[in-house]
Amino acid sequence: MNMSEQILQTQNLQAFYGDAQALFGIHFALHRSEVVAIIGANGAGKSTFLKALTGLVKAPADAVRFKGQAIGGAHPGDIVRQGMALVPEGRRLFASLSVEENLLMGATPGRPGPWTLERLYAMFPVLKEKRRNPSGALSGGQQQMVSIGRALMSNPEVLLCDELSLGLAPVVIQEIYAALPAITADGMSLVIVEQDVSLAQRVSQRLYCLQEGRVSLEGDSQAVTREQISQAYFGL
Amino acid sequence: MDVQVIRSTRASNAALVLALVWVVFAATLPLWGESSWKREMVEFSCYFIFAMMWNLLAGYGGMVSVGQQAFFGLGGYALLVLADIAGLNPFVSVVIAALLVALVAVPVSWIAFRLQGGYFAVGTWVIAEVFRLTIANVPAVGGGSGTSITALRGISRAMRENVTYWMALACVIACIGGVYLFLRSKEGLALQAIRDNEVAAESQGIAVGRMKLVVYVVAALGCGLAGALYFVGNVRISPDAAFGVNWTAFAIFIVVIGGIGRIEGPIIGAVIFWLLNKFFADYGTWYQLGLGVLAIAVTLLFRQGLWGWVQGKTGLTLFPTQRLLKVEL
């Protein structure tokens, strides 16, 4: 496998909510088996960017290329079938489905791959315990695990995670980030939106910083400095 | 620190002046108008008051009821009992009937409030059915056959028409004014908060239960008033007609066409309904069919009703209830 092969790119990606423009020409690239972090202040457009990648926000077809194909503005279902899955901001579980059914919903696209219920339960044993419980009755952290698991069940080639650690106990954040290598080991690429900058730097190879809908910093995670980052955050 | 809060708009001030002119104009109608105008005005006042109350309940209180006809019918039957059986003056009876209905609404709310959302809608409908079936089994008020209200037979036509007309007019003004003032007060805030999020409202110190009860009882009072007023004009009453679900259906129609959750809504809706009725009612089946299609079309094309659409285009608000903080930047 060629490490430098770009699995996902965006070219001059713009996105709108009605008349309000949220993204102003984002250039972005992701390689196979790479972990890329996206950071940025609140409202910078991180979630919007992920939504545009997965089709939840409309984008011009050519602006997003996935495995060489133009997929901008395609139906979210088609995009997930091609192998890109999202762990949405705020968990968004199906409240009337049990934990296990939520996970099974993730398998709807029917992509073969390493992720099965057993493997997930091995990674998050609590979920196995609660697999018959309605997901609405889980705590926040447990819900986050289901949300990740649900995305993994589609066996994506690219997994997008929006604010993974939000509201999680340190112990869970550790568990989840400890699981990342196992996830990427199979060749899966990751895009992580993370508020905790040092954590983002630690787990990713490259990072992008967004500011008001534009990329204000891009670089090797280990190489960028604190100063560069705070400048990129607030545009000082 | 000086805090400035804007509570009126230029349009609303103009509307207030126009409203005053209209009131004077309307109040003198018996002096120069036709008796058919008075009758139409009374009839549509009833529809309007009923729709206004439904709007208060559903649009502001978040309680979508399909059972407001319960109070309409009760208003009518209370009138029958007071005027025909107890022998009170029929016009005085209208007011007492409305108050009685409000009283009945208190225990009824106890059952209705156990339910929420769709359950509430259907539950209130069933409550109305229970009233209908109960009244239908009381021979003293005519049972299932219904009966005629005879208390008005002795009163001269002009007197009856004028007094009914003025009563209806007073009720309409009281209804619009009352609802407007209520929504502008801090209780109005509470009501909106409850509609948006009941749990949060409760935890912000709003006595949700009591507030809903007040709204429910006020709406019942208004519906009872509409009912009593209606049957003063339409002297025949029967359970099926008095407790018919189409009362609420028409209210929904009026409110949705005009725009729910805004005072202008039922006003516009009632005017449109009146015009349609005036010009097309004689087409029978086709008229009804057209009403159905219209309701569907407006819902699909103008989510916020016609007034909501106008408001979206022009920003016009005739009855502003919001508080706009003047922020100097």
Partner: protein, 394 residues
Amino acid sequence: QSGSTIKIGYVSPQTGPLAAFAEPDKFTLEQLKKATAGGITIGGKKYAVEVVYKDSQSNPNKAGNAAAELITRDKVDLVVASSTPATTNPVADQCELNSVPCITNDTPWQPHFFGRKGNPKVGFEWTYHFFWGLEDVIGGLTSAWSQLDTNKTMGALWPNDEDGNAWGDAKLGFPYALAQKGFKLIDRGRFQSPINDFSSFISEFKKNNVEIVSGVLPPPDFANFWNQAGQQGFRPKIVTVPKATEFPAAISAFGDRADGLTVEVWWSPNHPFSSSMTGQTSKQLAEAYTAATGRPWTMPLGFKQSLFEVALDALKRSADRSPEAIRDAIASTNLNTVVGPVNFKKGPVPNISKTPLVVGQWKKAGKGMELLVVDNSLAPNIPKQAALQAIKYA
């Protein structure tokens, strides 16, 4: 008031559950139009006749409103209405309240008169009504039933509505009269229509060996009852259920199971009367109707026609077009119509005139059903066509 046009307001249930009663309306209004094409003369002055036709939507509120609108907006000179108390009572009430002359029919006179709290000593001032009464239907039916050898036990199906309450009224309705005539009555009380299940009635009827069933039911209720009776093996000899079985279309919905059902007949092509408006005999009227609409005759046809016969007659005799004059003319009506003679002076109570009633039975004829008169004891001038037969079960 518009110069030289006389306006008649007409309220009828064009739409809604009672719409079957209004089926002949368009035809009747056509007939009227032809008959008054040249205008009519009132008090020496010539007037054109215009009918303002309003729908009651089968709803008493709408009926009352329609009447009020006719009076206040259209300023009609006369209001006419027909077809069940739900239409005629609110219309008559509005007219009485607003001092406008009014003629109604097609509602048994007791629910019309007493249902509106009429006083038999005084009557009403403005409203006149012609139709048969409960005493007629009781007399006619019991006489017809007596043609067969039964145990004289009758099961009642009277809903809690204007008609059911009138028929089942302890004093004015069937119960008292049946007791007088030696019938045993199984009456479980008024029920709320519509009702989806009659098994509680059927088991009670079976237990008491009921051989005659009678009531006033809307078609779906009767269909429920009749099918469940079949399922539960209840086989009465005589079934007389007005309303559900008055209309040919409703009857055809029952298929073969309609064979042998009995019903009171207020008008048929067989009635030996003719129209004062068009000169048509009953038979000619029915034929003209079928020719014009392609539909079989129905009982309301005669009454719609007669309603306008009485109206026109009164208008023509009126001294002028004032409401009082028109009312006085109505009060002094003495007219032979297609449903029989109408004379408000001869009624059992003021303002009412009775029309003749006979009893008929639906019999299979070719593919369809035909209604044959099987008892004419109350109106011997209407020929009897067959003898009553017990219902045949397969």
